[in-house]
Amino acid sequence: MSAVVLPGTAPRQRVHWTERLAHAALALVALVLLAFLAAPLLTLLQKAVEDGDARFVGLANFIAYAQTPALLQSVWNSLWVSLLVTAYTVPTAFLFAYALTRSCMRFKGLARGITLVPLLAPSLLAAISLIYWFGNQGVLKSWMLALGVDQIYGAPGIVLAEIFSTFPHALMILVTSLAASDARLYEAADAMGTTAARKFFTITLPGAKYGLISAALVVFTLVITDFGIPKVIGGDFNVLATDVFKLVIGQQDFNKGAVVALLLLAPAVLTFVVDHWVSRKQTAMLTARAVPYRAKRAPLFDGVMSLYCVAVCVLILAMLGMAVFASFATFWPYNLQPSFKHYTMGLVDAEVGDAFVNSLLMAGGTAVFGTLLVFVGAYLLEKTHGAAPVRTAVRLLAMLPMAVPGLVLGLAYIFFFNQPANPLNGLYHTLTLLTLCTIVHFYTTGHLTAVTALKALDPEFEAVSASMKVPFYKTFWRVTLPICTPALVDISRYFFINAMTTISAVVFLYSPETKLAAIAILNLDEAGEIGAAAAMAVLIAAANAVATLLFMALSWWVDRHTQAWKNP
């Protein structure tokens, strides 16, 4: 026993060559995230404190902004509209989620499916539909007037369309939160003879508290950073998101645009921080031994809940149906004969056909390369060791996109990639950059899905492999990847659908050759071709519906071929 232990001479394990490989791969992921996320955002920050000639001016842009009454009006507009939408959407979605999780109503799957449909279309589809329902030539314009609203353009339209488009997001969070309840709490309450109302306020509501906070923040952020809906139905009603667009694309005032973008970043960052805190609390609440709640039949309650869900589903279908109907109407509102006029007009005359191909290419690229990047990144983070500084950097960068609204990201991309001095300048306006931007934009959700799937694997697989001298990549290929294929399909579907409908980030980055379908809808609407705009929006939704079916078929096939071990 002659080990003389000197302080500060901690032995370092020799790094195996396979581990160097893992470190190199991790460094590559870090590099991609630095170049396509961190660097653009830093450029955006820089722009906000510079004047038009790239001189440092401190907070001058912010002060100038604060002294512009018209712009401050937008801040106020954005705030109250977002708050109002949150106040409507969260309770509506909560009740719906409550019906889905706590009642014995029938056709839950169908109800759930209908509520997910809005996610297949660009958010502005709701705005277009509203114009057909309540616009100048709207079917129900008289109803609206009777309610004392003079026109749908402006705040009323924005609020209604945003409620529709944010509803599925809030619902998903609340269903998860309500489903994660412990039946034993209710049994204990029943044993003590607790009334239904008291159970609701002492068990259900506190249990869903974090879900409610999270849903409210997500809805608020989605609304305040959304660009498509206010652009289509906002009329003269200015909000922050449309201001950014006007400042940057209209007035070419990049520095003030950067200031507004930073204002939009604030609520998103706040949401991100609170959500992070909330999700920690939520996981701590539910132990592995919890018994899932099972609803009991209660005819009256189930009936009321069914009626409510039917009403909501009818509204959602009315919104979608109107867009579909109008897209086929030959000449609204005078000639309602169905025809493909708007489709040919959009696809051929306005050359949306090319944009549609671009969209499919971009969505396909995002689905393939995004999934690859996200999964490899998550794998390296979760299952390999060493290179701690790079690891921390990747971990942070992977979570960052959640806190960056698309509009802000798109703006940051212009600032960064549109500099002639940037060696990546050649990417500007290309489909490649649009794809990369979209991957980064939706990175975090994919990353979290991958991390969840990877965390479900036994953490000792890698240790066992190393003891058998099997390099990590063989275990990745033979074990990790096959087990995680269902998650991979989920991630790629998420990427595809969002890439098809996204507007906010890419609206700053396209060229005439790389225009995307969702953006083409905006242009058609601007040109007054609202019929064609509706047709294109429906086409995107249809493409996404087909894609969803294909992904479902794929996941069925994957289940059969890689998951046989689950039920042998």
């Binding site: 026993m1 002659s2 080990a3 003389v4 232990v5 000197l6 001479t9 901690a10 032995p11 370092r12 394990q13 020799r14 790094v15 195996h16 396979t18 581990e19 036994d458 000792e460 697989f461 240790a463 066992v464 492999s465 190393a466 003891s467 058998m468 001298k469 099997v470 390099p471 063989k474 275990t475 033979r478 074990v479 096959p482 087990i483 890689t562 998951q563 046989a564 071990w565 689950k566 039920n567 042998p568």
Partner: protein, 359 residues
């Protein structure tokens, strides 16, 4: 038991996690073919020590030699061991045969040979013919046997078992530990098992390493650790014990109002009047035989009888030994024969050679 050429030698192994020291300089030699158990409460550093031997954690200081080779800084893949975890860590999407052959395939062992080895190993762990099954089709105990077969497939020099039985239910646990022991004897593979279950350690280990707070308290056979605990911690942690306050008195002990004779070596070397503690296991307090004139006999009053099966755990008050009650084992037959029940009085005797004294 330090041999000249230990198979595994740990020297000054220390592990710090930030300001927390998980291991405080552990020295240990393990001979070839030995079965050693690391025993201790959770958080004592036993698993950390095992993971350091495996190279899954890196020690903050110290040296590890395996078969004469310094492996202190080698990555896991360059050490020579097989490992079994509490969670089995079987690859769920691979068949039993693919799991067991996982390490063989990587060594380019010809297919037929690998298959033969798999068959041999499955027979060895008592699951012949289960090649085509998936882990999900097997019970916990069966899965752990497969994990064992997988760990042994490449004939490693060292077998590491990290609480391998903790996830199993009691009956399977007892059965499997016996099988692990006989398998180890048969193969002669040097084995280290981490456990918090002393009974398990007693049943399988050649030597037990009792650990607490990142340090080794005692290394010894089951009998040594049980009969002759080196420290207060070992005495308390291993088995049930009675602890009585005592005073040293002329080479003997005064406990309460009684002077007791003690024949354990630990009684020597204490100045008269020094405060001591006497540790004594319940089975070392006898109800019979007690002959008239025997020493160390005291009058006991039964306070509580807890039925344990063939014997009972009896709590007695011993006024002459102070206020502290004692726990003794009395056989069910004896209790019936002597018609003893709660409230009965009886004479008991402390065995002088078993009274372990701590200062």
């Amino acid at each position: 038991m330090t041999s000249a050429n230990p198979y595994l030698r740990l020297a000054g192994i220390r592990k710090d996690f930030g300001s927390f020291t998980a291991l405080k300089g552990v020295d240990l030699d393990i001979a070839q073919g030995e079965f050693v158990c690391f025993l201790g409460p959770s958080g004592c550093g036993k698993t950390t020590l095992l993971r350091i031997i495996a190279g899954l954690e890196v020690q903050s200081a110290g040296r590890i030699e395996l078969a004469g080779r310094d492996i202190s800084t080698l990555p896991p893949a360059e050490r020579d061991y097989g490992i079994v975890f509490q969670s089995y860590a079987l690859f769920p999407n691979l068949s039993v045969a693919d799991n067991v052959a996982y390490g063989l395939v990587n060594r380019k062992v010809p297919k037929a040979q690998a298959l033969a080895r798999v068959t041999e190993l499955l027979k060895l762990v008592g699951l012949p013919g289960s090649e085509a099954k998936f882990p999900a089709q097997l019970s916990g105990g069966q899965q752990q046997r497969i994990a064992l077969a997988r760990a042994l497939a490449t004939s490693p020099g060292l077998l590491l078992l990290d609480e391998p039985l903790s996830a199993l239910d009691a009956i399977v646990r007892v059965k499997l530990r016996g099988e692990i022991r006989s398998l180890q004897r048969q193969l002669g593979v040097t084995t280290i098992m981490v456990t918090h279950d002393q009974e398990e350690a007693f049943a399988v280990a050649d030597r037990i390493v009792v650990m607490n707070h990142g340090a080794i308290e005692q290394v010894g056979t089951a009998m040594e650790v049980y009969r002759d605990p080196a420290t207060l911690f070992v005495a308390d942690f291993v088995g049930r014990i009675n602890a009585l306050p005592a005073l040293a008195q002329d080479g003997g002990l005064r406990v309460g109002q009684q002077v007791l004779r003690c024949e354990h070596a630990s009684v020597h070397g204490h100045a008269s009047g020094r405060e001591l503690r006497v540790y004594l296991r319940p089975e070392d307090v006898l109800a019979r035989p007690i002959a008239p004139g025997d020493d160390n006999v005291f009058e006991a009053l039964i306070e509580k009888i807890e039925f344990m099966g063939p014997y009972c755990l009896v709590r007695v008050a011993a006024p002459s030994l102070g206020t502290q009650p004692l726990t003794v084992y009395l056989s069910l037959n004896y209790l019936a024969e002597a018609q003893l029940h709660e409230g009965s009085r009886l004479p008991l005797r402390l065995l002088p050679e078993r009274m372990r004294v701590f200062s």
